[in-house]
Amino acid sequence: MEFDLWAQLPSVLPEVGLTALAIVVLFADIYGSPSARRNVVFISAVGMALLALIPLIWLPDPSLFENGTLLWGGMVNYDPLSQIFKVMLLLAGAVTCLMATGDKGVGDKGEFYLIVIIATLGGVMMSSASDLILVFVALETLSIPLYMLASFRRGDKRSAESGMKYFLYGAFASAIMLFGFSLLYGFTGTTSLSGIADAMSAGLGDNVVAVMTALVMVVVGFGFKISAVPFHFWTPDVYEGAPTPVTAFVSVSSKAASFALLLRFLTATFPAELVIGGVVIQDFWVNLLIVISIVSMTLGNVVALRQSNIKRLLAYSSIAQAGYTLIGVVALQGANDSLAVASVSFYMFMYIFTNLLVFGGVILFIAATDTEEISDLAGLNRRSPWLALFITIGLLSLGGIPPAAGFFGKFFLFQAAVNANLVGLALIAVTNAIIALYYYLVVIKVMYVDSGPDDDVSIAIPRAYAWSLGITALVVILLGTIAVTPVYDWAAMGARGL
């Protein structure tokens, strides 16, 4: 096959752009004038937002390439699914940069933005990686910056502790996952995700127990990244201890990139056709993930009921959200698996904006009041009606109430589940959605109904926040109303490319 650089370049253009952006930011921070340093945040945010346009402009066209959508020697999969997740991750990075500006000790340091860009680079690579080598490199490019970010506020004990915890758990999970990768490579002699499946169906590695062991190890790694139960133990502590903008970033980027990769991994490496020793491998991972999904959403929601710290509440809520999203992954067993993939893509798309919206509001609140207790949110409606409204829209979206985007997100997931004959799972999920709504509504009630001691002290919204919160809130509403069709169709297109 002739290598055509210009034809293949668009597939990695966001990665190239991010690397260039990282270098620009690094130099602007080190050698720039004070005003240039102040502008680092805008360079990073606008840069990433512009890079997010690339996947929209160069739509992948598989017919261009002889070898399907696999490019760069089979390392990179240039399909619509990867493009959707790239857009998500780039926008998440951009919004995070804007939201970090006001945070003392975090947003005023140029290297923060540099690290966010590198982490985003890792996530972007992950969403199109289709080879074990690149998968692992991308995963670590995402993870290591996140460990650094979690302990970014070095002077603060909680931040340092959270970084350390995250690192220890993360390194352990990565090691297990890597062991799983090595087993897969050992059985089949290839590192290509689809190549492994081909080799296994051809009879290589026909030891079903060993293959399942490898599969479980890989799932452990993913479970850690998406904070699914029982690999969730780091989540509340890290969410609580890390600087809030970092928490926001961790909660969306690492989760979205991991779901992209999980979808690809399960469909490419362990497809429905794969039968080893009479055992349908898909049945195995479907059942495994059903259990993880049910336990995650139930435990996340039930424990969240008891939280009094808003960041811990959101941590448990994000565990539950991982459980919901896994429903979409499990629904891959259905006859029409494009519904499943599209539902996961749409859910992650809306989840990124929703969670950033909630966290953005919380960052601002914590910066203004220096407290993280839910009861201190009392009377927020009087102190800053806009801030209360933004947080409310975000929470409603998390709870799945229209017109916020979460309604459609949940609806698509349940639909995919019913389509895959998982009615029981759908019923458990809707019951969970009700439990979740209880604690979201309590927070909203505290903001709107309760009165606090500082009711007259208003909270001002700085301009960077006004923009980032306003835009994310608008996106959340649009995704729940008129923008559903284009985004869902786009997600469905990504599903067909798999």
């Binding site: 409606n381 409603l396 799945g400 229209p402 017109p403 019913v418 809707v430 019951t431 509504l441 009630k445």
Partner: protein, 573 residues
């Protein structure tokens, strides 16, 4: 009716939404402007609702109108298609494809059952804004949320797309939560608001799962064995040309139900098919909001805790949303399930009627009396659905309107008394007709309506329900394993009639103790007569009770035309 361009119904939904958003941006200190925008929007919506109601009335009754068509169809002896009849009965339609790949469309329209509900919502919306005139605390937010609530309620009534129905249903719940939690009765509001919200949501999400299952079953049918039915329907214009086999359109789902798409075996259990399995989820899921026993528990607390305007819209309109949605998505889309399950659900509705009335009788709190009386009267609506014949179901349709106006009037009366006397304890009130004659008269009119006094709308509603029960008695049997129960509806009617007697007892007791008897001039020295806004509320809600009672043809034929497609679906003549 052909789907046309812009529909007045779209304006009815979007006026409150736009007004709500505008109100949120107004200056919070400028109360007059907030009230002005609120009342203008509500009045505009009421005017449009009247136009829709009488426009539809004309559509039904005119020469060559719907009724004549339906008669001709019945007399012709042709095989009846419920889906076709339902589609023919729709007017003021508008359809915009929303998510094409999933067959979700913004599709609105009214039929004979929903047109009176649209009018009712408009009336209660105006009354709610007027009765909230004096609210001091965060009037701006109150008014905005109230507008969103009104829009959500309207949406459910006019949705012809099942997905839209759920969308608006959920949309209505959140503003309701905040209104009760934020402006309700301090002692109870947080508990009651959360209880009500969770009850209603639990019901609706289970119904949503049922709906998704129906969507796939109907889609699989139209894409597979029913492909010829589908193409014939598209050709005849029953379904729009751009529809696919998978669709949320209620017309299309009705067509699927009629052609046996939901009669598939599931779980391998003998006698349990898809329809029979999902009907309880669908009917009881929405029945929660209609207050069907044993899921009525949220309703008295919720109504008592809510501020007056919200009690009015809640008991007056939202409970009808539940009954309406249970009819539209339960009975209409799963008729075989209705045949199987309604014969036992009727016992629950009987408990509603009698038990609700008994508890209302025992209350000391004025507002709780009305709260439990709603449970009792809504039982009659569900009982009417359970008759599954034209007379009974038409009566239930009229009861929805009659009870809506009546109970909103009651809650208005309670609010007016409480605002001035600051107590709702019935024994400590008395003689209020001397200081507030308007309110007293309104209560008596409402009370007579709820007893089913001829000449008022309650009679027009309750009599056909009981008549329908008698008529149904011979047709309906309940099979419980080997045990068969038949001809029991007539027995139920007799017991249900007891509920009416108890109703008379508590209405007379309340009227006697609150409005007549000794007036404690010392304690209630600052109680004065009501303002003009309150009088308008009483007129808006009270006059339909009398008009409908004296001249039933203003509504009965319309509702009958809306029920006929259902009868065709249920297999009756």
């Amino acid at each position: 009716m052909e789907a046309t361009g812009f529909s007045v119904l779209t304006a009815i939904i979007f006026i409150p939404i736009i007004a709500g958003v505008v109100i949120l941006f107004l200056d919070r200190k400028n109360r007059d402007l907030v009230r002005g925008v609120g009342v203008t929007a509500a009045a505009a919506v009421l005017a449009l609702s009247l136009a829709v109601y009488f426009g539809y009335d004309n559509f039904v009754k005119s020469d060559g109108g719907l009724i004549e068509n339906q008669r001709a169809l019945l007399e012709s002896g042709a095989e009846l298609s419920g889906a076709q009849m339902f589609a023919d009965a729709l007017a003021f339609e508008q359809r915009i494809v929303w998510v094409e790949s999933l067959g979700i469309a913004y599709h609105v329209g009214v039929d004979g059952v929903s047109a009176p509900m649209v009018l009712l919502t408009g009336m209660v919306a105006v009354a709610g804004v007027l009765i909230s005139w004096k609210i001091q605390d965060r009037l701006r937010e109150f008014m905005a949320f109230f507008m969103f609530l009104v829009a959500g309620v309207y949406g459910v009534f006019i949705a012809v797309d099942l997905f839209m129905l759920f969308f608006f249903y959920e949309l209505a719940i959140f503003p309701m939560y905040l209104l009760i939690a934020g402006w309700g009765w301090v002692k109870l509001r947080e508990y009651a608001a959360m209880k009500l919200t969770l009850y209603i949501l639990v019901g609706s999400v289970f119904a949503l799962v049922a709906a998704v299952a129906m969507y796939f079953a109907a889609g699989a049918y139209f894409a597979g064995s029913g492909a010829d039915v589908f193409s014939a329907a598209v050709e005849s214009g029953l379904l729009p040309a751009d529809s696919g086999p998978y669709s949320w359109s209620i017309v299309q789902l009705t067509l699927a139900a009629e052609n046996g798409a939901f009669a598939i075996e599931i779980l391998g259990i003998d006698g349990l098919n898809f329809e029979r399995f999902w009907f309880p989820f669908m009917f009881m899921g929405f029945g929660v909001l209609a207050g069907v026993f044993p899921f009525h528990n949220w309703s008295p607390d919720g109504h008592v805790a809510a501020p007056t305007a919200v009690s009015m819209i809640h008991a007056g309109v939202l409970m009808k949303v539940g009954a309406f949605a249970a009819l539209r998505s339960g009975v209409q889309l799963l008729p075989d399930g209705a045949d199987t399950h309604l014969p036992w659900i009727v016992f629950l509705t009987l408990i509603n009627v009698v038990y609700g009335a008994l508890i209302a009788f025992r209350q000391r709190d004025f507002k709780y009396v009305i709260g439990f009386s709603s449970v009792s009267h809504m039982g009659l609506v569900s009982m009417g659905w359970a008759t599954m014949n034209l007379t009974g179901m038409t009566g239930a349709g009229i009861q929805m309107f009659s009870h809506g106006a009546m109970t909103a009037l009651f809650f208005g009366v309670v609010g007016m008394v409480y605002d001035r006397s600051h107590t709702r304890d019935i024994p400590s009130l008395g003689g209020f007709i001397k200081v507030m004659p308007w309110v007293g008269v309104a209560f008596v009119i409402g009370g007579l309506t709820s007893m089913g006094m001829p000449g008022l709308s309650g009679f027009i509603a309750e009599f056909p329900i009981f008549q329908g029960m008698w008529a149904a008695s011979e047709q309906i049997t309940l099979q419980l394993g080997a045990f068969q129960l038949s001809n029991y509806y007539s027995a139920l009617v007799i017991i249900a009639a007891l509920g009416i007697v108890i109703t008379a007892a508590y209405v007379l007791r309340v009227a006697g103790q609150v409005f007549f008897g000794e007036f404690d001039a010392e304690r209630f020295h600052d109680v004065g007569n009501i303002e003009m806004t309150d009088r308008i509320v009483l007129i808006i809600l009270g006059s339909p009770l009398i008009i409908l009672g004296l001249y039933p043809p203003i509504m009965a034929p319309m509702i009958e035309s809306g029920i006929r497609p259902l009868i065709a679906l249920l297999g009756g003549g």
